[in-house]
Symmetry: C2
Subunit: 99 residues, 2 copies
């Protein structure tokens, strides 16, 4: 299991509509093969910056399977119009959770 972190920047004036768009898009991830969870976090110090946290079975489940699916197009159609700049997407693996 790995975690995708997408740093998303939007116009802070459109925050409520963006958050609604992500909620509407969430079922696309739920239906995606190899997707185990999605959460949206708001960065307190940087208005308009969000962290989309998606749990995937593997990097390939995200980058190969999801990115080449119709669902990815639907996700970007919903959320993409809010983006200011290109999302910064990385994947991480757990080293340890200490407590």
């Amino acid at each position: 299991m790995i975690t995708e972190i997408a740093m998303l920047t939007i116009d802070p004036a459109r925050a409520a509509d963006f958050e609604t768009a992500v909620a509407i898009a969430a079922p696309l991830f739920r239906a995606a093969h190899g997707c185990h969870g999605i959460a949206l976090e708001r960065v307190i110090e940087r208005p308009g910056q969000y962290r989309l946290v998606v749990r995937w079975e593997s990097v390939e489940a995200h980058m190969r399977d999801f990115r080449n699916s119709a669902a990815f197009g639907e996700w970007r159609a919903l959320a993409g119009p809010f983006f200011v700049g290109t999302p910064d997407v990385t994947h991480s693996e757990s080293v340890a959770a200490y407590f």
Copy 2:
């Protein structure tokens, strides 16, 4: 409850020693007032980049209480020598976890 995300960059050649240093430091966080968890994640695409994820009762529990404690000095004495550049520290709050 909020989440501190510290983006840490180290020399990839020293990764094993850095990970050990964080494990040694973990009890400092466990003992800190208002700290509810700490985890270390390795960014797959960027060797030497880590995400330290710390759950705090509030931003103040981290920035006022922990940062002014002796434990913060001990943490930085253990992990700081590995840092390349200044850690990028932000706090985030949950908008939603969809599944």
